[in-house]
């Protein structure tokens, strides 16, 4: 019996190796390099061999592993279970600890410019993940074009801030409103679609917005992008070393030395607050009738209709609110970068956010945080390996899907409870 299994697994891994060779051979193995101003193909067979061996051996062990798992079916898979149990029991404490850590983070000795930038980026993804979690995790609408709302938020923020000179706190809600309106705009045509069809149409919508931004030159400056987006100020106090005559700045007001980190730290707290607002809002609205209706719709739309729940309005609110938070995050992105162009809003961004939500465990707020740290962290760690980043990214997703097919944190908490004795 064991021999049979090994034989089968060997066959299987041989097959996997052949597929890997066919796939990676041309992609990785053949590199074009410029030599004496001509392009020549330089084979890199060693790397291909490594990848193929990795795939084949990996496949072999997966087979053995899943066989063993089948043998002890019924027993919970240990590590993942342990993690999610731990998070279930200590959830509140962990959340408080995590928030406390994020508050003191900028003052940690190691938190230099590099770490702060990563932290800000992660926090932005966490916020986007939480926003998209409403649409995908709660309402069950697989939206692959979420980056469109991020873009709408960024562009409306930039345009209002540049042309009218309004401050961040005025432009922010306007940008959210615009993004929310686009959410409804997308929502209407896709009301009747589910699953794959919905995914395809939302994906196309994301591309449409990007192409619109590329081509509407009068408004968006097309591929040149928008420059000179006002930097954020601390309630009217700018972060500038040499302010204009008679203008008080952050460092003069507080009697500090000028330090460019002050602005970074401010940005960090800004995105932290925005993300926490998103989180608090989602947690609260999930317990309201509309939130329960989202989840019910995800579970069974026909049953919802039979109970008089209006599926159209319910879906549209999910799209609109999810999009609104995407828009807020977009505003932040615009003010942080001071420059935006359609290049920042490609499909890969949507894909990463969807991956964050799905890998985190549909609907789980903590899951979003964990998978962001994991995925974005991974991309960052592999930054030096350039094109292998995405391979690592994909590999990580495959691993999570093998060990935790329903996401890192799949357990759902009821929105309302009767308690033990009613």
């Amino acid at each position: 019996m064991g021999k049979d299994l090994i034989q089968k697994s060997l066959k299987d891994s041989l097959f996997t190796g052949i597929i890997a060779l066919a796939l990676f051979g041309p992609i990785v193995g053949l590199r074009t390099v410029a030599k004496n101003e001509v392009l020549v193909v330089e084979p890199k067979w060693f790397i291909v061999l490594l990848i193929v061996a990795f795939c084949a051996i990996g496949r072999f062990f997966i087979n053995i592993y899943s066989y063993k798992k089948e043998q002890r079916r019924g027993e919970p898979s240990s590590l993942g279970k342990a993690i999610s149990n731990f998070l279930d029991e200590k959830g509140a404490q962990i959340a408080i600890a995590a928030i406390a850590f994020s508050i003191i983070f900028p003052f940690m000795p190691f938190a230099d410019r590099y770490w702060m930038d990563i932290a800000i980026m992660m926090m932005t993804y966490i916020m986007l993940g939480w926003g998209l979690n409403i649409v995908i995790g709660l309402a069950g609408l697989l939206d692959l074009g979420y980056v469109a709302f991020y873009a709408v938020g960024a562009y409306s923020y930039a345009l209002f801030a540049i042309h009218f000179g309004w401050s961040f706190w005025i432009c922010l809600p306007i940008a959210g409103l615009f993004a929310g309106m686009f959410g409804i705009l997308l929502g209407f045509p896709v009301l009747r679609l589910r699953g794959d069809y919905l995914a395809i149409v939302t994906l196309a919508f994301g591309e449409m917005i990007r192409i619109l931004l590329l081509n509407w030159y009068e408004l968006t400056k097309g591929p040149d992008g928008l420059t000179g987006i006002p930097r954020p100020s601390f309630f009217g106090l700018p972060f500038k070393r040499y302010p204009d005559e008679g203008v008080e700045t952050f460092h003069t007001f507080f009697g500090l030395e000028y330090d460019p980190m002050q602005r970074i730290i401010f940005l960090y707290y800004l995105i932290l607050v925005l993300a926490l607002i998103t989180n608090a809002f989602t947690i609260k609205i999930r317990r309201l009738p509309v939130g329960r209706a989202w989840e019910a719709l995800r579970e069974d739309e026909i049953a919802c209709k039979s109970l008089g729940v209006n599926p159209r309005n319910t879906k549209l609110t999910a799209f609109a609110i999810g999009a609104m938070f995407g828009g807020f995050a977009g505003s932040f992105f615009a003010t942080r970068q001071a420059f935006i162009s359609p290049e920042s809003f490609t499909f890969i961004e949507s894909a990463i956010i969807v991956a964050i939500v799905v890998l985190g465990g549909m609907g789980s707020q903590t899951g979003v945080v964990l998978s962001t740290i994991f995925l974005i962290g991974l991309i960052e760690v592999f930054r030096d390996f350039e094109s292998y980043r995405m391979v690592a990214f994909g590999g990580a997703m495959v691993l999570i899907m093998i060990f935790r097919p329903r996401g890192i944190l799949a357990k759902r908490k009821p929105t309302i409870t009767m308690g033990k004795h009613g």
Binding site: P289, V290, A293, I302, C304, S306, I416, M418
Partner: protein, 264 residues
């Protein structure tokens, strides 16, 4: 002589060339349990789907009398039949929200009134007293029904984890949470054992007598049909072949031939 609750006239439903319901007329009274029986594929579920707006009937009329007010059910589409006309239904293949708790299932059924109470979420977001009060009332209604079917101690468990019989009962009381005038049940006794089936009879009688809700019942289990029906409509190939009391139905030669089969 009690008043008519549902009046169906010349209902016809065609799927391409297939005539699933053929010129069907019947009525259901307010304090009655009206059963629709017939062999597989006779068109019973299709009647429900027309009544509850999931299908648009090809021809015919359906009127529901509500507080001396005749409502044309054809005017409402799916969710509005439940919301505006107060017609609730269950499904042949149970349709609960399996990953949500039992209590949550009951709360979703009270969605419309809670949505209004939550000021379309605004009052809810600021924890307004009036909303919290309404939420508490909704929980009490849920508890009331869960007590009746004996599921209160499982209120916080996932609906999908309940045993089959309990899921059936839960689907029925969940439908009752919308405070319907007419409750349409599609084979509620399917898959129940004798004890559960007896409990179901009791529950349906309670809904009819104490809640004054008219019931339209599709059922294959003759012990249920004969035990509680006040009126029986028999369908075969989309046509009504017989209509009468349970006793008359049991003894009708046409019905025996088409459906019940010759008993020993």
């Amino acid at each position: 002589m009690s008043e008519t609750l549902l009046d169906v006239q010349n209902l016809t439903m065609k799927f391409g060339g297939l005539i699933a319901i053929d010129d069907l007329s019947f009525s259901a009274k307010k304090d009655h349990i009206t059963s629709i029986i017939g062999p597989n594929g006779a068109g019973k579920t299709t009647v429900f789907n027309c009544l509850t707006g999931f299908y648009k009937a090809t021809a015919g009329s359906m009127y529901l009398s509500k507080n001396n007010n005749k409502m044309d059910l054809k005017k409402f589409s799916d969710f509005k039949v439940a919301q505006k006309a107060g017609v609730a239904r269950t499904f042949q293949n149970i349709r609960l929200f399996p990953q949500m708790s039992v209590l949550e299932n009951m709360m979703v059924a009270q969605h419309n009134k809670l949505m209004t109470a939550s000021g379309f979420s605004i009052l809810g977001l600021i924890n307004s007293k009036s909303y919290l009060q309404k939420e508490k009332e909704a929980m009490e209604i849920s508890k009331y029904w869960l007590d009746i079917i004996g599921l209160t101690n499982r209120a916080d468990d996932n609906a999908g984890d309940l045993p089959y019989g309990d899921q059936r009962k839960l689907e029925i009381v969940r439908a009752m949470c919308i405070e319907p005038h007419l409750l349409c049940l599609d084979e509620p006794a399917a898959g129940l054992n004798a004890k559960e089936s007896a409990e179901l009879n009791k529950l349906l009688k309670f809904i009819k007598n104490d809640k004054k809700t008219g019931i339209l019942l599709i059922e294959h289990d003759m012990s249920v049909v004969m035990g509680i029906s006040d009126h029986v409509v028999v369908l075969n190939y989309g046509k009504k072949i017989f209509e009468g009391t349970a006793k008359q139905t049991k003894n009708s030669p046409e019905v025996i031939e088409a459906y019940l089969g010759t008993e020993d």
